[in-house]
Amino acid sequence: MTSDGLGLHPSSGKCPRGLCPLRALGAQPGQPERRRPGWGHRTLRGATPRYVHGLRITRMGLCAPALHASAHHSAPLRVSWLEGDGAESAKKAAASALWSFSANHAQNQAAIAEAGGLAPLVALLGVGGAETQLQAAGALAAIALDNPQNQNTIATMLVQLLTAPDTPTRTKAARAISNLARAHTSNQEARAK
């Protein structure tokens, strides 16, 4: 069962209630439910972000959830989670802050682009944890809103990713565009209120 019709979720069906926000974002939950049942819903409530983030970073970074079957759920995985957690949380907060700064603020939209913020935000769309992707997409959509120059820059970056030689990168680009389109709609609706 593919709940959103995008066909981006090879591990669909693992989310018992079909509400997992990670799947809605195009993330690919691997095997974490073997250790913490219902982890996706826990994420929704924000109860155990530290644990979930670490797993996401590792899996998303490798882009191969199957590699993290039970044999790999050992010490090395935990180490990579611990090392990555602080940075991942900070990235998510930074993207969130840039989203707030740029919302309906033309000067800040331009200033973030001038500070070189677009490329790392686009990168986060493909490799960050699902919540980080959401924040990065929201920030990019806000930075691009009514700013043709920023729209052009972001679109160029995404097209480059879409035409990359390797399939994982192209897949990330497709996911990024999907996230961005949703975030754009959300920002437009927020502005209309």
Partner: protein, 80 residues
């Protein structure tokens, strides 16, 4: 804007923006993340605060933070 902006403006008004931006330059990613979260809240829905944070130099360290590769603390988690 709406009345929920008032606390944010009050926080900004007592001079929180400058020390929060300073905190963004700390080595600790935890400190940076918390500062970024606070600034995000302060900026939300307040054009004055959005402008003030940018003027205080808040954008550049946040852009750097987006690309940061490693967290700072590696501590033993409970129950593992």
């Amino acid at each position: 804007m709406t009345s929920d902006c008032i606390p944010h403006q009050a926080i900004a008004g007592i001079g929180a923006i400058t020390p929060l931006v300073r905190l963004l330059h700390e080595e600790s990613t935890k400190a940076q993340g918390k500062a970024a979260g606070a600034l995000a809240s302060i900026a939300m829905g307040s054009k004055d605060n959005q402008t003030a944070i940018a003027a205080a130099g808040g954008i550049a360290p946040l852009v750097s933070l987006l690309s940061r590769e490693h967290g700072d603390e590696v501590s033993a988690p409970h129950g593992l």
